[in-house]
């Protein structure tokens, strides 16, 4: 490792000043502004194009920095500067999709979002007197479906996940084959494609119930397959943070293992546990494919998760766009409305998670 670094560089004529052979301090900023201006000038001559301007400026900037640095400084420094430029560019590039996605959803969804949209279900009504079919766009059925399906999934996976985590941290020895297998399986389960979970729930329920087994509950099963590993992983990390001094102090007082876990370990870790669960919910609430497979989709209001197809916001966003009704524009608008509602839900869940983490943050742990 050291040989490559200490390789002597070609001797250069030494100037008097300490700063000789170096570019000025804010050279990269000047280069960027300069290339922006130059490219803008070129584009003025042949028609302006914002994207092309930015892309070309970035390239010109990188080349200019490289050339100047290798003339004034040396090749190593030039490489360093160019790489720095590339890394910064990669980072800026990542912000474009984030801003653009959120911006698009808000701009397009805000038009569709109003109280009627939230408080009524979609569907077409046929009026026998006038022979007119009126189609309404709404999200009530999807909101109810989302809450029910996700709620049942959370009810099923939180106890299982939490108990698994407690087993892994408190009871199992790390070297034991059982705990190693469970850990490996949990790791691998985080990588199950969500649509496969949906297929699993669908096959399970067609075997039990028979064909036409679409129900909200089946979708909940699919979601909990996805959710359990997330809950296990985050709870496990949180339980591991509880310092072993606390446990040992409790044992030294003659407290049983069960009481130690329920009275000492869980209360200490509660903030992290709740945060992890909230984030797991936020993650599965946006799943589309498994629900689409397991619960199908519908435009009608269905409050019973154990019978008949149910829709969720994510599924509504997908289905309204892909399988639109007679009024395509209205369907697309309702897709964006559902998408915006969904994003709002996810953001709210994330905020709750952060606030819970703040409020319950254990004192004196660190």
């Amino acid at each position: 490792m050291t040989t490559a670094v200490t390789r002597p560089t070609r001797p250069r004529p030494q100037g008097n000043s300490l700063t000789s052979g170096q570019l000025p301090r804010f050279f990269e900023l000047y280069a960027l502004l300069g290339s922006l201006a130059v490219v803008a000038g070129v584009f003025m001559l042949m028609g302006f194009n914002v994207v092309g301007w930015l892309v070309l400026s970035a390239i010109v900037d990188l080349v200019a920095v490289g050339v100047f640095a290798s003339i004034v400084e040396n090749r190593r420094r030039a490489t360093d500067r160019v790489v720095r430029g590339i890394v910064v560019l990669a980072f800026l590039l990542a912000f474009i999709p984030l801003v653009s996605t959120l911006g698009t959803v808000i701009v397009r969804g805000i038009g569709a979002l109003n109280w009627t949209f939230i408080s009524q279900s979609s569907g077409s009504r046929f009026d026998p007197a006038t022979l007119v079919v009126t189609t309404t766009q709404g999200a009530l059925h999807s909101i109810v479906g989302t809450l029910e399906i996700t709620g049942i999934a959370a009810l099923m996976s939180v106890p299982v996940g939490l108990l698994t985590a407690i087993y892994l941290v408190e009871y199992a020895q790390p070297t034991q084959w059982m705990s190693r297998t469970v850990t490996l399986l949990v790791d691998v389960m985080t990588g199950i494609p969500s649509i496969v979970a949906g297929l699993f729930a669908f096959s399970l329920f067609t075997i039990i119930v028979g064909p036409k087994a679409f129900s909200g509950f089946s979708a909940s099963v699919a979601l909990s397959v996805l959710m359990i590993p997330i809950v296990v992983r985050s709870s496990e990390e949180m339980l591991k943070l509880v310092s072993s001094e606390l446990r040992e102090a409790s044992y030294a007082l003659g407290v049983t293992k069960f009481a130690t876990i329920t009275r000492i370990v869980l209360p200490t870790a509660i903030a992290g546990l709740v945060t992890g669960i909230m984030l797991a919910i936020a993650r599965v609430i946006g799943e589309t494919a498994p629900i689409f497979i397991a619960a199908s989709f519908t435009n009608d209001f269905n409050g019973n998760p154990f019978n008949g197809p149910q829709s969720t916001l994510a599924v509504q966003a997908y289905a309204s766009y892909k399988f639109p009704g007679t009024d395509i524009a209205a369907s697309t608008a309702s897709a964006w409305g559902a998408a915006l509602l969904l994003v709002l839900l996810v953001v709210i869940l994330n905020l709750i998670a952060r606030i819970v983490a703040r409020i319950f943050a254990p004192k004196g742990l660190r």
């Binding site: 980072f91 589309t288 994510a314």
Partner: protein, 330 residues
């Protein structure tokens, strides 16, 4: 955990009739499964499409993701690092269907001029050949959206691993006169290589199973195609094929589709095992035990709060990793 076994078992049970069935029967002769003589003839092109599109997404996304991770861990001002990491992780919180809609309304028109230009001028490369697109529902558009979706996974795991580089290695390199890039190349990359590789594999696992973006954007024709810029010669992924055809299939076709799902399950299981295996097997300090002890949460989309708090309090106080984490978060 019985669930994993149960998933595999039920998929096999449900898919078996279609795999062994005679594909000339009327049930399978129409609809989505028309024109295929065996199950393998049906699933083969879909597997190809899945791997192909994910690979393109990876080629686009992985370098950018590693760049982001490097920026946050080594280039950005220390005070900003935590916030920036949180913002990148926000990408993981956006539901996939939202990305799909965004891909349709923003990425498709955005890429259209580029695609047409490539198609006109670089037609001789097989990748860019074929009839030119007019709507933008191309493999390239789908792969770009997929690349955006796998950015947060790859970058958050790589970031954690870059941050764990022993501080002394970096300082030694700097003290020998290495520039920042040389330090990263000599001290950080060798240390983090296996972690980054497994992060990329995990990203691949995510890309393989991604459904909605592909189902919404690409207009498919399930054959083996190399072209990425056309409307009519697009490969199709297993997941998207499932989502598109599942609602309107008869029972036997559904079983065939479940069979394709089983293939997807096997592929992504293999990729995930490989990723975990690399993480566990490397002896260069990034073994999984150590990772876990130092609080790297490998759950995709996990909270940066969780990650950061864990990183802070799980490392021994005063250790290099602890130092780096504190600096990064303060």
């Amino acid at each position: 955990m019985v669930i994993l076994a149960a998933v595999a078992l039920f998929l096999i049970v449900k898919a078996m009739p279609a795999i062994v069935a005679n594909w000339q029967t009327p049930d399978l002769a129409g609809g989505t499964t028309a024109g295929h003589s065996t199950f393998w003839g049906y699933v083969g092109p879909l597997i190809w499409g899945t791997v192909w599109i994910s690979a393109i997404a990876l080629v686009i996304g992985a370098p950018i993701a590693v760049g982001i991770a490097l920026f946050i861990s080594h280039y950005s001002p220390r005070r900003l690092a935590g916030v920036l990491g949180y913002l990148v992780d926000l990408l993981a919180a956006v539901p996939s269907v939202v990305f799909g809609l965004w891909g349709i309304f923003v990425i498709r028109p955005f890429l259209l001029p580029l695609e047409q230009w490539l198609n006109t001028h670089l037609n001789w490369i097989p990748l860019f050949s074929g009839p030119p697109t007019s709507t933008g529902s191309t493999v390239l558009a789908g792969a770009v959206v997929l690349a955006v979706m796998i950015l947060p996974i790859i970058s958050s795991i790589s970031r954690e691993i870059f941050l764990q580089t022993p501080r002394l290695h970096e300082e030694a390199a700097l003290a020998l006169g290495a520039t920042k890039w040389e330090t990263i190349r000599l001290a950080v990359f060798p240390y983090a290589r296996s972690g980054v590789v497994s992060a990329i594999l995990l990203g691949l696992g995510r890309a393989l199973g991604e459904t909605m973006a592909i189902a919404l954007i690409i207009s498919p024709s399930p054959k083996v195609w190399l072209t990425i810029l056309t409307d009519t010669q697009n490969s199709q992924t297993i997941a998207a094929n499932l989502a598109l055809n599942f609602p309107e299939s008869n029972p036997l076709q559904r079983e065939a589709l479940i069979g394709t799902g089983l293939m997807l399950f096997v592929i992504s299981l293999a990729v995930n095992f490989a990723a975990r295996g690399i993480l566990t097997r490397t002896g260069r300090g990034t073994s999984k035990r150590k990772l876990r002890r130092e609080g790297v949460v490998l759950v995709p989309g996990a909270s940066p709060i969780v990650v950061s708090e864990t990183a802070l309090s799980a490392t021994e106080p005063g250790s290099p990793a602890d130092h780096a984490a504190r600096e990064a978060l303060s």
